[in-house]
Symmetry: C2
Subunit: 239 residues, 2 copies
DNA sequence: CGTCCTATTGATGCCACTCAAAAACCGTGG
DNA sequence: CCACGGTTTTTGAGTGGCATCAATAGGACG
């Protein structure tokens, strides 16, 4: 059930058979949620974290006027709100962007791991710092990249992240987002995203149609975006 | 020496006398660094983390054209690159914005804590997730807030963070940043920061002059910024 | 008291936003 | 299988916030 989480972890460090068992034992229950459902609400006391098994989720914050900023996208295998374990509540909401399947992990089981399994604890800690690294890269995009570079960058990032969990076909992957969703990730309007996607399509770099991304020229796209997957820490090391 | 770190931690959870001793024992050495010195460089293997004792530091990423995005500011008491312990290297640079004093903490001592002191481990973990929360709030600023709200917001944030470590005088605090530095935090140009600061000054909300911030109307500033310190998790809880 | 850095102001331009509307797509039910 | 309503995508025209370019003023320091 948590195969994708294991893929994600094993791309970064060894996970022993015992540790794998413990991780499997974390899941107390699974749940299906419909699209557009807010699964975790900001400021609510939490005692459970969620692993995304299938679908696509996001973390977002919003302003009074209804404008929304998505601060991170989550692909299957992501421990979507693991940080709620040390934080005890969240400063943002977590929403399903499409129908999703999630696994529920009670915090007391995570607590138990921290008491008895240091290496696994460090692995979990690592995963939350990986999310922070993604936040930082998005800050760079939001603050300094042009609209075309922003879109190019997020499409490169998602290619890498989907690839890790075996959800790409070559340079193509399914991305069930609307242009409106994308705009909320990138600090743009949907209209401008639309125009910029057309540019990227016309320059034969990437096509995003029918919820599918086809990267026609990865090197070119990465160059435009100044994309370097370093910040995703896809290298195996003892943590 | 690490009094400000202790203030920061004890604003969020209890720290026992034993834990305090262990934290004090983390420091292997201290160092003075000059302004504008990059203390930690991206992609370099690390075996030491730094606690900021005095001064002001930042994390930043940059683009080929030399544009820079500061992703977080660090005030005294911050464990500036604690996340390099799980990550093993950083995806960004860490720089001293003014002359700073830092404490060096070897990773093997952190490793030892994770092996023997679960609660302290969770506290350290918590601190890295707090940095991530700040990143998310900055994403919201960079993506959706207007220039005036962005400036107002960061000045509110810094007030709260300086206050926690006892470095405010009422609604005033010393902030040794140039307008150029601020611009690099906010995804703006220094020129526009200058104009916007004038607006904020003229609307009697806040003054930033001679490296000093004086908030004349905190409620008004917070309202403009939609500032809510929730994301800084200044509430004491068992972690 | 000159030099460098920082702050300030003015003029102009462009990237992305807003407003408006049509076209394409999609699930649903008759 | 097609009509239908809602969502999403696409395109056009006009606007504006922040950037760029240019230049002066102020402050810190040797």
């Amino acid at each position: 059930m948590i195969e994708k989480l294991l893929l994600k972890l094993r791309a970064r460090d060894d996970v022993s058979a015992e540790e794998e068992d413990i991780l499997r034992g974390l899941v107390a229950d699974t749940k299906e949620v419909a699209a557009d459902v807010t699964v975790v609400r900001a400021q609510v006391d939490l005692s459970v974290s969620n692993i995304l098994l299938a679908g696509l989720m996001c973390r977002y914050k919003d302003l009074y006027n209804g404008e929304r900023q998505i601060t991170e996208l989550h692909v299957p295998g992501d421990f979507v709100d693991l940080h709620s374990f040390p934080l005890k509540r969240l400063d943002h909401n977590v929403m399903a962007l499409v129908p999703c399947k999630i696994a529920l992990v009670p915090h007391d089981r995570l607590h138990a791991i921290t008491e008895t399994h240091p290496h696994l604890t460090r692995l979990l800690w690592f995963m939350t710092t990986l999310d922070a690294a993604i936040h930082r890269e998005w800050e760079l995009s939001l603050g300094r990249r042009t609209s075309s570079a922003r879109i190019a960058h997020v499409l490169c990032e998602l290619h890498t992240r989907f690839q890790i969990v075996g959800m790409t076909q070559g340079y193509s992957y399914r991305l069930p987002l609307t242009q409106f969703d994308l705009a909320e990730c990138l600090g743009l309007t949907a209209i401008h995203v639309n125009r910029t996607l057309r540019e990227l399509r016309m320059s034969r770099l990437v096509t995003f149609r029918n919820k599918t991304v086809v990267i026609e020229n990865f090197a070119g796209l990465a160059k435009l975006a100044e994309y370097d997957s370093d910040y995703l820490y896809v290298d195996k090391r003892p943590r």
